[in-house]
Amino acid sequence: MLRKANSFPEEVLEHVLSFITNDKDRNAVSLVCKSWYEIERWCRKRIFVGNCYAVRPEMVIRRFPELRSVELKGKPHFADFNLVPDGWGGCVCPWIAALATAYPWLEEIRLKRMVVSDESLKVIAKSFKNFKVLVLSSCEGFSTDGLAAVAANCRNLRGLDLRESEVDDLSVQWLSRFPDSFTSLASLNISCLGVEVSFSALERLVGRCPDLKILQLNHAVPLDKLANLLRSAPQLVELGTGAYSAELKPDVFSKLAGAFSGCKELRSLSGFWNVFPGYLPAVYPVCSGLKSLNLRYANIQGADLIKLVSQCPSLQRLWVLDYIEDIGLEALAACCKDLTELRVFPSDPYGVEPNVSLTERGLVSVSEGCPKLHSVLYFCRQMTNAALVTIAKNCPSMTCFRLCIIEPRAPDYQTLRPLDLGFGAIVENCKDLRRLSLSGLLTDRVFEYIGTYAKKLEMLSVAFAGDSDLGLHHVLSGCEKLCKLEIRDCPFGDKALLANAAKLETMRSLWMSSCCVSFGACKLLGQKMPRLNVEVIDERGPPESRPESCPVEKLYIYRTIAGPRFDMPGFVWTMDEDSVSRFS
């Protein structure tokens, strides 16, 4: 058998591919050549579909016959801020039905921002004999009834994660439906549940699952019961507490502290709803090993926060409210040298006056003290170009930078200039930047910087920024790796969009709301770009009842090989060839 020099031993390609699991790498492998495409598709075990409307389930099934794990995303990100009207879509039902028939051995389903019905949960529970992991992130449409079906039927379930989902309470004691013989649970996240769960069922479940590593409770689990749970699960690695307050009783405290000391593997803490500061020292025994601390719901004041954070020198990730203030962030910078991710949330976002002393200085201190910082989400009320330039210089390996100055169009408060130069410094210095959110007063200039320098940028969020189409044009023509672009309340119109229409096919999606894109332009785009779905979302009524030059309320454009969808509600129209003739 003659073989060319350097030629790849194809007989071992499948084996080599078993070591390549990253989605991007698998996608690259599938595009190398025909034989690799074939071999790859037969051994692909896991698939990620970033937009459930980009492809039909039948297409996925036809191409990948051996899937074990499916991840789907539905609504656009701005749905988190109530910008996507209810009923827009993202129903997982047709996917579940198709997957159930095609993959009896499917093990994992992960969904984000999708509408999941109890019926779908029941289908999942009954159809997959070896089902292991269900993750419903920011989903809705199901109730405790559906959960009961999953608990009762998925004998090998390892993970059930309902993070940030909305679950209807039908007063079903679903946790009790896990049979007594069920012991495989490794991860349980019920933090979003508004209702009480049967504590005794929970205790028994935790007690009989020796592999349980992740347990995130909802706020209804009282603090005085937490110690018991911890004692029966000392192997926990991640814990989300319930409500963290009770009357300060010495025996409750000592029991709790004792229970925490028993958890030698604990690396991540979250929960902390309604914190009573007196109980915080109970977690001190685990602080030295703590890598991740989520105090996003913890309404504790600066001094207590500083005390807690100073106990955690190994901290890599901190989510905290702005009660930490600049002074707390300075302490953080001094103590936590391994910090990679910081998120500071606003305690009073709608207040007119600042209620805490959290300014740009806090973020600058952290950038100075924490050399490994690469992911930032920061809500504040003031910023300067100088601060941003400093942060950019201090953190050249930043990958995710989201700055949210609460007041729209707020300028540099010292010079009163736009923040173009500051963000320009960020994109120029942080060459690996993949995600960026802008805020403050910004002109077209900032977009020119972004288009010029942000070559690895994948996701950009823009609001109340820019002067003209030029801004949008810079981003669309300059950002080579741009995947998701979401824009609201910016003066971007037809020109930039139409001139860069081809770019849209290289991105996952574009969202524009309260901008200046006319109905006529949407029609044109939909007509000329068959591989895009151009969705006009307008709750004022059919767009053809208004002049063609009238801007649409909301526009959602995404690439697809599935053609227009048919599950649209009355306020969504897809622009395509047919609709053009229908409308004119």
Partner: protein
């Protein structure tokens, strides 16, 4: 002599050897305990009784060249010793797989045919690491694989058609405008002290952003980039033109590569330097510095021509949108558009007033 004497004087006599024939026909002896580490050889010895003499030497599969056999035997010789720690073995393995890709491929293939699973795993992992993080083109180049997938099979995104002439010209136009604005700012009289201070800090920040030696560096790298881009552009244009040709629906000015080719053709036919234009065209993502460099390189007649085009384009841009669309479309001789107008200003004003009401809630959307 006593047994002990024998063992001391000739320890090699106690070792057993297996006869193996490599693909070049040569027959050699290999220590049995080392060779038997390979399941395929083991099978030959145990099941078929081969390898005990020169006449019944085990012939190795085609994929195991003498060089590969040598490597594999090194591997086996190390690992078949029982006493080694995991750390030692791991360290050996890491050093062992450090070789050029060609050898790695050969070795993987050889190990696979000898069914030596641990070595197949080791080499496969090494190959996986080579593949990770690479684009399809890069992988093809490393392993000399054909580029034979059709457009339908490529469910991945289309390449960004940035060699669109309107975008090139648009960028050129904006670069010129920005240059003009900068010059105007420098010449402007300073009215207020504050403003002057502001300008200085702006300039400071600007120079930070552009870097100290930005200009000269930019020019140097752009030259190298251009050559490479030129070849790529030429290659990319041809097949994509064919693809669009066969495409049923004609895309319009905004997307059509065929249109692109026609505009190019018209530009090219009026300009003598075909290659230089494509050179300039390639750099649409380059910062403004590189554009200016490009302008300087082109001969003056060509430069004049380009300047005229930019003026034309500026005029077109500034006129009404529908007329502009019609001009662009007529260049490509596509269907004409009608009934498209944009009322940018009016719409903007309308929005501005409704924005203030929802400011606070809306700001949080920046997450």
């Amino acid at each position: 002599m006593s047994e002990v004497d024998m063992a001391v004087i000739k320890p090699e006599m106690m070792k057993l050897y297996i006869w193996i024939q490599t693909t070049d026909g040569a027959i050699q002896q290999v220590e049995q305990e080392v060779a038997m580490f390979c399941p395929m050889i083991c099978l030959e010895v145990v099941q078929k009784g081969m390898g005990s003499s020169k006449n019944c030497a085990i012939s190795l599969p085609q994929r195991v060249s003498p060089a590969m056999l040598s490597l594999i035997l090194d591997y086996c010789r190390f690992h078949q010793v029982a006493g080694r720690s995991n750390k030692e073995r791991k360290s050996f393995d890491e050093k062992f797989v450090r070789m050029d890709t060609k050898r790695l491929c050969e070795l993987t293939s050889a190990a696979d045919s000898l069914q030596l699973k641990p070595l197949v795993d080791l080499t496969s992992r090494a190959l996986a690491r080579i593949i990770e993080g690479k684009t399809p083109e890069e992988i093809r180049e490393i392993f000399h694989l054909p580029d034979d997938l059709t457009e339908e099979e490529k469910l991945e995104p289309l390449k960004n058609t940035t060699d669109d002439p309107r975008i090139r010209l648009l960028n050129r136009l904006y670069a010129k405008k920005r240059k003009e604005l900068k010059e105007r700012e420098k010449l402007k009289d300073v009215d207020a002290e504050e403003e002057h201070v502001d300008d200085r800090s702006v300039d400071d920040l600007l120079s930070f952003i552009n870097g100290g030696d930005g200009d000269s560096k930019g020019i140097k790298t752009s030259k190298n980039k251009k050559k490479h881009r030129k070849r790529k552009d030429l290659q990319k244009r041809a097949p994509s033109n064919e693809a669009i040709e066969t495409h049923k629906k004609e895309s319009n000015a905004a997307t059509s590569l065929r249109h692109n080719a026609k505009v190019d053709h018209e530009l090219q036919s009026s300009l003598s330097e075909k290659l230089k234009l494509q050179d300039a065209a390639g750099e649409i993502f380059a910062p403004t510095v590189e554009f200016e460099d490009v302008d300087d390189e082109i001969d003056p007649a060509l430069k004049e021509e380009i300047d005229r085009e930019v003026e034309d384009f500026a005029r077109i841009l500034n006129s009404d949108w529908p007329e502009r669309m019609q001009e662009l479309l007529s260049l490509g001789q596509e269907r004409r558009l009608t009934h498209l107008s944009v009322n940018g200003n009016g719409a903007l004003k309308g929005h501005a007033s409704s924005i203030d009401g929802n400011k606070k809630r809306i700001a949080l959307s920046l997450m």
